[in-house]
């Protein structure tokens, strides 16, 4: 176990963490604004990956354009889901929305199976993305660098949006108190819709990256990253965007180190480890690392 090996593992954790972060941000934003655990969020990742496949392999568009359209598709899906199913349920008990999102998740997965078949598909980025770079002991593919840079760019852009723009202020006000925000003349529906759009757009981009990183996509691929990103959001404190990012990197790094540093017989316990952490955090510190005390959790 030399330095190079650990550095390589850390790099892998960083890549995994930045993909989790993009999904976890959406989870956190949506939870923050409507107190809904959106189970269908992981399936936006799947939709993003398949959109990428269609645009890149079939339509043959250049990469930046593909990324842009994937982002748009994700936003569109988010708006659609919010408009069709969550808006009519607003004001119902929290669990209602949760069951509905579970239903939407199952529906999206099976729509995927119905239209695309359950067979996994190969997914390849153009060859200049696959080139291997060596940075000291650590070797990267170009696509890994693109993943990390895109993720960082989107995170910075998002934090700017939430902190500085009018929409961001409206979002924060709505998250703080939905009724008072309405009294202040904020269009609640538009703000919530924008939140869903942004969160889902980021998740779709994460789908593009997931496909590029692991090279294989199928209609059920969104399930595991969705759940784990939720764990990441809980670690950081649901509702807080910096928390989601921090939680995602902690989860990505610790997952990779759990598999990389412990003897191989433990590596199949990876998911049990992640969800064990989830339960412990929910019980011991339900507000997460950076979350505010909402008071309705435990």
């Amino acid at each position: 176990m030399d330095f190079g090996y650990i550095a390589q593992q850390l790099a892998n954790g960083l890549i995994l963490g930045s993909m989790y972060a993009l999904v976890a941000i959406g989870f956190s934003m949506i939870y923050g604004i409507v107190r809904l655990i959106n189970f269908a969020h992981g399936d936006i990742v799947m939709i993003g990956a398949f959109t990428t496949l269609v645009l890149m392999e079939t339509a043959g568009l250049p990469f930046p354009l593909v990324a842009f359209f994937v982002l748009l598709t994700g936003c569109g899906m988010g708006i659609l889901i919010e408009r069709i199913s969550f808006r009519p349920m607003r004001g119902a008990p929290q669990v209602t929305g949760f069951i509905a999102s579970l239903g939407i998740s199952i529906m999206l997965q099976n729509l995927g199976i119905l239209t695309l078949s359950a067979q996994p598909r190969n997914f390849s980025f153009p060859s200049y993305m696959q080139r291997i770079l060596n940075l000291g002991p650590v070797s990267f593919r170009v696509v890994d660098v693109v993943i990390i840079l895109t993720a960082f760019f989107l995170m910075v852009a998002l934090i700017f949006l939430v902190q500085k723009t009018k929409l961001g202020i409206a979002m924060r006000a709505t998250a703080e108190n939905i009724d008072v925000a309405r009294l202040m003349g904020i269009d609640i529906n538009k703000t919530i819709m924008a939140t869903f759009a942004i969160g889902s757009g980021l998740a779709a981009i994460a789908g593009l990256m997931w496909g590029g990183k692991f090279g294989q996509i199928d209609p059920l691929m969104g399930y595991v990253p969705g759940l784990k990103s939720f764990v990441a959001a809980v670690i950081g404190g649901v509702g807080s965007i910096p928390g989601a990012i921090l939680g995602a990197f902690i989860l990505g790094l610790s997952e990779v180190l759990f598999v990389g540093l412990l003897p191989p017989i433990y590596s199949s316990y990876r998911d049990a480890f992640v969800f064990g952490v989830l339960i412990i955090i929910l019980i011991a510190m339900p507000n997460g690392l950076l979350g505010k005390d909402i008071g309705d959790k435990a």
């Binding site: 655990i37 199913s85 009519p88 349920m89 119902a92 008990p93 929290q94 669990v95 209602t96 949760f98 069951i99 509905a100 579970l102 239903g103 939407i104 199952i106 529906m107 997965q109 099976n110 729509l111 199976i113 119905l114 359950a118 759940l227 939720f230 809980v234 199949s268 316990y269 998911d271 049990a272 969800f275 064990g276 989830l278 339960i279 929910l282 019980i283 339900p286 309705d296 959790k297 435990a298």
Partner: protein, 337 residues
């Protein structure tokens, strides 16, 4: 004034079950018998989840985990002595000579699931609402991972197959009656009222002297016991238990039955479980003949979402319909509104 109607209904139910199971076992073919047994098992699952989810308001996604625990325990206890060394060469010494007939094995399976529920309850029941849902989902995934990896006892992803086909319509019918009776008695006992009170307003219930933790833990444990029994029945119906079958999809299906029937209504759960199982069976030939896999799930989730939007209380709400209760004064909290 309490009406005698529920007693007559119970008598009718028992008589119907006896006649029905004797009749159908002599006349129907294996396919029909399997569907009828699945319907019964789904009734047990839906009614027992209703205790946890509907009466006490503990939104648990962990029902299949308890099913898996019960199913594996029952399977190990009834596993034939000749096949044991062949299938499970690494079984721990003390488990090798253990063998029980079907009925005690089911009881042990249920009790073991209930015991695990107690332990899980101690840690998880401090959470509320969808946080509890997520924690129980984590528990389900942990159980799946453990089953996949404990090769010496569970044979990992292969699962335990070649179980003897003990489950038949009479066994299932018997357990259906026991489950419905027990859950009905709980609902209309003081404990059941405490559960409803805890669900409506835990702080008010606590101030009136209801032990929150005990009540919640009891609801979870009863649910887990019947889920464990259902798991045992299920395993001996399809003659195999595998980790993959006790998945989140299964918990989704049970929740659909509870929500569609009306969270808190036993009659509702029974009705919804029957409709749900028959609907699934109607979709199966459709999916196989036209190669449109997934249509059944899509339709079910669509129905669920529509019900959540337009009739969130489900078919029967939280109460029981008049034709079962007679003039019994309903204790459902929505009654007074």
């Amino acid at each position: 004034m309490e009406s005698n109607r529920p007693r007559y209904c119970l008598g009718l139910l028992i008589m119907f079950m006896v006649v029905f199971s004797l009749g159908i076992e002599r006349t129907a073919n294996d396919y029909i018998l399997a569907i009828v047994s699945f319907t019964g098992i789904n009734i047990i699952l839906a009614v027992s989840l209703n205790v946890t989810n509907g009466f006490a308001g503990l939104f648990s996604l962990g029902h299949p985990a308890f099913m898996a625990i019960g199913g594996y325990t029952t399977a190990l206890l009834t596993f034939s002595m000749e096949k044991k060394p062949l299938f499970l060469p690494d079984l721990p010494q003390w488990l090798i000579p253990v063998h029980l007939p079907f009925f005690p094995a089911l009881l042990v399976g249920g009790c073991f699931a209930a015991l695990v529920a107690q332990i899980v309850g101690i840690s998880v029941l401090r959470l509320k609402g969808h946080y509890l849902a997520v924690a129980t989902m984590g528990f389900l995934i942990i159980v799946q991972v453990l089953l996949n990896n404990a090769n010496s006892i569970t044979r990992g992803p292969l699962g335990l197959n070649g179980l003897e086909e003990f489950t038949n319509v009479s066994w299932v019918a018997g357990w259906v009656v026991v489950t419905i009776y027990t859950c009905w008695k709980i609902k209309f006992s003081s404990l059941g009222r405490s559960m409803l009170a805890v669900k409506e307003d835990s702080m008010a219930a606590n101030s009136l002297g209801v032990d929150l933790f005990y009540t919640r833990n009891f609801a979870l444990t009863v649910g887990a016991f019947f889920a464990g029994v259902a798991g045992g029945l299920w395993g001996h119906l399809i003659t195999a238990v595998t980790p993959g079958s006790f998945s989140l999809i299964m918990s989704f299906n049970i929740i659909v039955m509870v929500v569609v029937g009306g969270t808190g209504s036993i009659t509702g759960s029974v009705t919804a479980a029957i409709i749900f199982t028959l609907a699934i069976e109607c979709f199966r030939p459709l999916e196989e003949n036209f190669g449109i896999y997934g249509v059944g799930e899509i339709v079910i989730s669509l129905v669920l979402i529509l019900i959540l939007i337009f009739k969130p209380s489900g078919m029967f709400g939280t109460g029981e319909p008049k034709f079962v209760t007679g003039k019994y004064k309903q204790l459902s909290p929505t009654n007074g509104k």
